[in-house]
């Protein structure tokens, strides 16, 4: 059953007080309450429909500079009180670490409404409307004769409430919504199957792309891979579509995360203040952008979010930190605490002026990467090696699709080799970027 916000805040306050009385030096209680709706449509029928409510509570306790953590989905008072006692006992027998501690209290300055991350439409939208939205997208996509099969369409909504109370006096709460739609299609020609996917996620229902737009884009992304060829192994200029640039930024984030740095698990260790990229490269983490998916007033330990340059005009300006990694590195937290580590707010590459078309025109022979598969990224060295799908470019024009190729390079090198930045930035997740051109990478083929 859903609990009122007031009840949960009272519970968190009570547990902080209870922990203090039991002997905790510092204690933090965070609560997440979530309503989920999810419908999956395939071949015009409902495959599954999920409606649920759940909640989770996390406790962090510090005693004599020693920390222990617990989470529970069981909210009975007896269980939670007992969990605090056992967590405290666990902290006592752990090892001291001078860098541990809750952050000093910060006053919330930002007006929640101005962040615009909650849409009350979520309460009005009926299941039928959501089902119809999904059905409509698939119907439009399947009208295209080249589409032979559907992986289905998923429409999901989430309403999330977050509460954070700690013994330093911080008390904060906010509500957020996410509306998301994803679609998978398959096209077939002479026994060759190709898969294509597209998705859209927004804070507000009204901001979702229109059903026709989503369907059309999913079809375009699928059928353009039909008749793919293999190419020879060679070094060529590479263009990344915005969603692939976003993937590259997720790798970069791992490498500028304060945790990777103090662990020496990044090729960017000891590079603060150094030139690591082209002059044209500006990469920002910003938790305060209006209405974006990574926007939030404060992070998971109550630090206010902000706008931070990771890279400014090619110079490595900041590592992104939670309070622990900041203390380890003698830096300041940047409001990037997520879960128990460091994560992005809205982490993006500042766009340039060129259109994707102009960028393609600049390539005599090369590859436009449209999708990647696999896991080949090593933050310690920056080495990247992934399976890829794309479109081969000849004389500034798209010539034919290619598949069963790999692209390889090194992120340190890539940052210096980005020669053109597009104007088509697209915020679809916590990572965003425009089309970019990299002067040279290896395409592995036959």
């Amino acid at each position: 059953m859903k609990n009122s916000k007031e009840n949960l805040i009272t519970l968190a306050e009570y547990l902080v007080e209870f922990g203090r009385k039991k002997g905790a030096d510092e204690i933090e209680v965070s609560i997440l309450q979530e309503n989920e709706f999810n419908v999956h449509i395939r071949m015009k029928e409902i495959e599954s429909l999920v409606e649920a409510h759940s909640k989770k509570l996390q406790i962090r306790i510090i005693k004599d500079k020693k920390i222990a953590v617990s989470t529970s989905e069981d909210f009975s008072q007896e269980i939670l009180e007992n969990l605090i006692s056992t967590t405290l006992e666990r902290a006592k027998i752990s090892n001291p670490d001078d860098f541990i501690g809750l952050p000093e209290k910060q006053e919330l300055k930002v007006d929640l409404d101005s962040l615009n991350i909650y849409d009350s439409k979520i309460l009005e939208l009926s299941p039928e409307e959501k089902i119809n939205f999904a059905v409509q997208i698939e119907r439009i996509a399947l009208m295209d004769k080249r589409i032979s099969n559907s992986h289905g369409v998923t429409f999901g909504t989430k309403e999330i409430e977050r509460i954070l109370v700690n013994s330093k006096g911080f008390e904060g709460q906010y509500s957020e919504t996410v509306f998301s739609i994803s679609i998978g299609l398959q096209a077939e020609k002479k026994g060759e199957k190709v898969d294509g996917f597209w998705y859209c996620a927004k804070r507000h229902f009204g901001e979702l792309d229109k059903p026709e737009e989503i369907a059309r884009e999913a079809v375009r992304r699928t059928v353009r891979q039909l008749g793919a060829r293999k190419v020879k192994t060679q070094n060529v200029p590479i263009i990344l579509e915005p969603i692939i640039t976003a993937e590259l930024l997720s790798f970069l984030f791992t490498c500028v995360s304060g945790i990777s740095i103090y662990r020496k698990s990044s090729f960017l260790v000891d590079k603060l203040g150094e030139k690591i990229a082209n002059d044209s490269i500006n990469v920002i983490d910003n938790g305060l952008m209006r209405g974006k998916l990574g926007t939030r007033p404060f992070d998971n330990e109550g630090m206010l979010t902000r706008k931070t340059y990771a890279i400014k005009r090619g110079i490595l300006e900041n590592y992104l930190c939670n309070s622990y990694s900041a203390r380890k590195l003698n830096l300041k937290s940047t409001g990037n605490c997520t879960g128990r580590g460091v994560g992005p707010n809205n982490f993006y590459l500042v766009p340039g002026k060129k259109s994707q078309e102009e960028i393609i025109k600049s390539v005599d022979k090369g590859l436009l990467v449209t999708r990647t598969i696999g896991h080949g990224f090593n933050p310690v060295t920056g080495d990247i090696s992934r399976g890829a799908f794309g479109l081969w470019i000849e004389k500034g024009e798209i010539a034919y699709p290619v598949s069963e190729i790999t692209i390889s390079g090194n992120l340190g090198r890539i940052l210096k080799d980005i020669s053109i930045i597009g104007n088509d930035i697209d915020f679809r997740s916590h990572y965003a970027g425009p089309t970019i051109k990299i002067e040279e990478m290896t395409v592995g083929g036959i």
């Binding site: 666990r90 060679q234 020496k264 399976g387 790999t406 083929g445 036959i446």
Partner: protein, 473 residues
């Protein structure tokens, strides 16, 4: 396993469960199911010479599923009061719009004769101080391996999962599943160059598992050894060439290239490249593949799957001929094929879907030496970061450590390569299958539709005549 203890754990009796299953059918569904889960996961992280963090996570909830034709209604909650469960059951029930009054059958407990995960010293009952000691042994072994090891991180996770599954066909069954995983990551540094190595172990095992082959010392040593080796590793070659897959870890190839596309859901939807190839030759005649959930103490093993079916060792490919699929309840109903016990879910928040458990290639007749000797110039893949496959059969896997093969010998170590291919093409290019079946590290997790479940995979040494290796030129 005493089922009444499970009733107590969830604060419900048999007639409560029958009532919930009845509510779930009240709007005309044909099948209803209740999944109750209580899981306690504990973890320890050690780094920089100290225990950095310990945690205890309690997962607790129920999921109710209803079938109406080929559609599924699903709901879940953390609140196991009858009032809350009734609400969830009625929400799930609304997938159906008729009102035929199908009644549930009386529940009769399914007995499991012998547990696949009987252990003498359960990990979840071990004192935390002993676990700290255990982690420190791994840490010290990794750290002291070589002065070039600069950072070591250890993760120890152990859990005990209690599940109770009941359905409208009268089934009620419980299971108590232990799971342990330890991972060591070592970062080495020399002349400003850094790289990392990784090793681990575990399964549905007790403490005794770590006394023999995988001692804490061995685990630390292996991770550091790999990190040091990678310091001098070369860039991988790029292009098409013969590829030899090392035994054990290379099982990820069969997981991606074969396993996923034989999960029944992709076949009934006809998206899998295999859907119309049952009984046909899809691989070299040396290739036989099984998925076996019944291997004692393995990470992917199950006494019952998450739908209450007792799993079976399932033949997927026999001498190159496609023979079987991994089924869950929904797919088996729609395809009118027998259940295999492969319906799994990440936790109570998810609808079960067909998944792999322990997947492997059966041994062949060649010795590993003669396989390596047969290659003049090629690539030997040893350790992996993971893989991915598309329904169309295109798959990749990322090799974190490999070797060049030159004149029938393994020579220079190679880092960070990607192998890519299309499954039926590659399966037919398997030229030699070794006699040395091994399994991977018992630390693997497989992701599908946003759900993660523990799995293992294995294989003998395998030679692929030609495959695209993605490296740098």
């Amino acid at each position: 396993m005493n089922i009444s203890k499970f009733f107590e754990r969830f604060g419900l009796c048999k007639s409560d469960i029958e009532k919930i299953l009845d509510f779930a059918l009240s709007k005309g569904g044909e099948f209803s199911e209740l999944f109750l889960e209580h899981r306690i996961c504990k973890s320890i992280i050690m780094e920089e010479g100290i225990i950095k963090e310990s945690s205890e996570n309690i997962i607790y909830g129920a999921g109710v599923r209803v079938f109406s034709g080929d559609s599924i209604g699903y709901g879940y909650t953390n609140d196991l009061s009858m009032e809350s469960l009734k609400k969830v059951a009625l929400t799930s029930a609304s997938i159906s719009k008729n009102s035929s009054g199908l009644k549930i059958k009386q529940l009769s407990p399914l007995k499991i004769s012998k547990s696949l995960y009987s252990v003498s010293n359960p990990f979840h009952k071990e004192k935390i101080l002993n676990k700290f000691e255990f982690v420190k042994r791994v840490y010290n072994s990794a750290k002291n391996y070589d002065s070039r090891i600069k950072n070591v991180r250890i993760y120890l996770e152990d859990e005990i999962q209690y599940v109770l599954i009941a359905n409208s066909e009268g089934l009620i069954v419980s299971d108590e599943r232990p799971l342990v995983k330890i991972i060591c990551i070592s970062v080495a540094e020399k002349n400003g160059r850094r790289d990392y190595g990784y090793f681990g172990g575990g399964g549905r095992v007790g403490i005794e598992y770590f006394k023999d082959k995988y001692t804490p010392e061995k685990i630390g040593e292996q991770a550091s050894q790999e990190a040091i080796l990678l310091l001098d590793a070369r860039e991988p070659p790029a292009g098409e060439m013969p590829v030899i897959l090392a035994p054990g870890h290379s099982g990820v190839m069969i997981h991606e290239a074969v396993g996923h596309l034989l999960e029944a859901d992709f076949n009934r939807k006809k998206t899998s490249i295999f859907w119309d190839k049952m009984g046909q030759k899809v691989a070299s005649s040396q290739v036989t593949v099984y998925d076996d959930p019944t291997i004692p103490n393995f990470r992917g093993s199950l006494n019952v799957d998450d739908e209450g079916t007792i799993p079976k060792k399932t033949l997927l490919i026999e001498n190159g001929i496609l023979k079987g699929l991994l089924q869950d309840r929904l797919s088996s109903k729609i395809m009118k094929m027998p259940l295999t016990g492969h319906g799994r879910r990440q936790n109570y928040k998810f609808i079960p879907i067909p998944r792999m458990t322990n997947t492997y290639v059966e041994k062949g007749e060649y010795s590993p030496e003669e396989i390596i000797k047969s290659v003049k110039k090629g690539f030997y893949a040893l350790k992996y970061q993971g893989g991915q496959v598309e329904d169309s059969g295109k798959f990749t896997f990322s090799v974190s450590l490999g070797y060049l093969i030159e004149d029938g010998k393994l020579t220079a170590p190679v880092k960070q390569a990607t192998l890519i291919g299309t499954n039926i093409d590659i399966l037919n290019k398997i030229e030699m299958v070794g006699c040395d079946v091994e399994f991977g590290m018992q630390t693997g997790t497989c992701g599908k539709n946003g759900q993660s479940v523990p799995v293992t995979d294995g294989c003998p040494t395998i030679k692929i005549s030609r495959m695209t290796v993605g490296g740098r030129k």
